[in-house]
Structure formats: C-alpha cells, structure tokens
C-alpha cells in the first residue's frame, strides 16, 4: 500500500512538472517535450483510476498523433529560438499568473466545499463495457465524432490547397 502511494505521488509530480515545463520553457520544442511528459503522467493516473484502455488511448492518440503533428508544424515554421525573444515583458507574466491563480483558488474552494457522495460499490467497468456503451447507447455521438474528423481532414486539405492557389 505504501509502495503504491509512493509511485502515485511520483506520477503526480511528473505530471505537474511537465505542465509547468510546458508553460514556462522558452523554446517551443522543449514545451512540446513537457507536453509529452504530462501525457505520460496522465496515462499513469488513468491506470490508477482502473482505466487501462484509456491510458493506452492517451499514449496512442496524444503522444503518438497530436504531438507528432505539432512537431511537424514546428519543423515547418522553423526554429523560433532564433527570433528575438519568445518571452514578452514580465508584466504579462504577472497578469497571467494572477488570472491563473485566481481561477485555481476559486475552483479549489468549490472542490473543497462540495460534498461528493462517493459510492462504496466496487469499480467493475471493463473495456468491454466501454465498447458496449459506445455501440449501444452512444452510437449517435460516436458517428458524429467520425463525421467531425472527416470534416476536419477535408478542411485541413482545403486550407492548404487554397493557400497554394493564392501563390
């Protein structure tokens, strides 16, 4: 039990350090590495939440697809650390920190105040249940997601074709 707690705390620290690295690093490629770290941490938290299928999907989709997409775009737009400065004036950091801390403490107050009725029944949802729900009760949103992805692909292709036509 103690061992599991130690691993859990390490995973949480990895997640938070990755998030801070994503926000605070000057170069975009380091921020992207921080995002990858955060994704792996969240996948570990999903495993602690008894959802190994979601953990695998997190690693496959976020680390395998979205991060590689962003890396390709960073390759296209070039090394941004040669530009003068990624950072602006420090007043902007102070304002952003005020907004972020305000939202953090406001929602923290809500979380600490609310009385969640945590059920004591054992958690027995498996991947089979997710698939059954996806194709039984939530079929229409599932099809809508596939339609949305097709529209997004066609939109991305059309955007690149239009810009080439302008040249």
């Amino acid at each position: 039990m103690i061992f599991a707690d130690i691993i859990f705390i390490i995973i949480i620290l990895i997640t938070l350090a990755g998030a801070l690295m994503t926000v605070m690093y000057g170069s975009i490629i380091y921020a992207l590495i921080g995002l990858v770290t955060t994704m792996f941490g969240i996948a570990g938290l999903y495993i602690y939440l008894n959802a190994p299928f979601l953990a695998m999907m997190q690693i496959l989709i976020y680390v395998g697809a979205i991060t590689v997409l962003i890396a390709f775009v960073i390759m296209v737009i070039g090394p941004l650390h040669k530009k003068p400065k990624e950072w602006t004036y420090p007043l902007k950091l102070i304002i952003a920190a005020i907004v972020a801390l305000f939202s953090f403490f406001m929602f923290a107050k809500v979380v600490l105040k609310a009385k969640w009725t945590v059920l004591s029944t054992p958690f027995a949802v498996t991947t089979k249940d997710i698939g059954r729900l996806l194709f039984d009760r939530l079929t229409f949103p599932f099809e809508l997601i596939s339609l949305l992805i097709v529209v997004a692909i066609i939109g991305a292709v059309m955007l690149s074709l239009c810009s080439r036509g302008e040249k």
């Binding site: 949480i12 938290l45 299928f53 979601l54 979205i66 997409l69 929602f107 979380v111 949103p141």
Partner: protein, 108 residues
C-alpha cells in the same frame, strides 16, 4: 472513500486536473506564439478528461459514461489540432511569423 491508500481519494485527482487547467490558462495568456497557445489548450482538455474519469470512478462506478466522454474529448482534440495547425501554417505562409499579438488585421 472506497478503500485505503492515497490514490483512493477523489480530491487528489480533482486538484491535479485543476492544476492542469491553471497551467493551461497561464500558457494561453502568457505565451506569444500560436503553437504554444495550442499546446496550452491541449493541457486544459487533458485536465477535463482526467476530471471526467475520476468522477466516473468514484461517483458513478457502475456505468462507463465518463470514460466514453474522455474518448470523445480525445477525438475532438485531434480534429481541433488538425484544423488549428493548418490555419497556423497558412498564417505562417502569409505573414512569415506566428505571433498571436501581431495578427491585427483579418481583412482579405
């Protein structure tokens, strides 16, 4: 609580999701380039997904609605990233930079 151990309390997962939300808001306001803003938005979406799975685990443990919604969030994030990156490449071809504060004109 549904058992012993630190990982069996709901509030820890909620606070991790909340920290991800705060980092995402900080990044969206503070970062200058559009790609960094997109990365910060991904952080916010991950915080929301973590919250949904935690609620599904502790509040409603008999159905899998929260996990299914997290899968939907992943699909929407993928589509959003594809469209946003296409627009970013378009902006880079036209203006030769991707800084959000300098995109003042939306004409032609």
């Amino acid at each position: 609580m549904t058992g012993m151990g630190l990982y069996n309390s709901l509030n820890i997962y909620l606070f991790v999701g909340l920290a991800l939300l705060a980092c995402g808001i900080l990044g969206v306001i503070y970062r200058r380039t559009l790609v960094s803003m997109l990365i910060s938005i991904e952080l916010i979406m991950n915080g929301a997904g973590l919250n949904l799975v935690a609620f599904n685990r502790f509040i409603a443990p008999d159905k899998a609605y929260g996990m299914t919604f997290t899968l939907f969030i992943m699909g929407i994030a993928a589509a959003e990233a594809a469209i946003a990156l296409a627009i970013i490449i378009l902006i880079f071809r036209k203006y030769r930079h991707v800084e959000g504060a300098q995109l003042k004109e939306m004409k032609d």
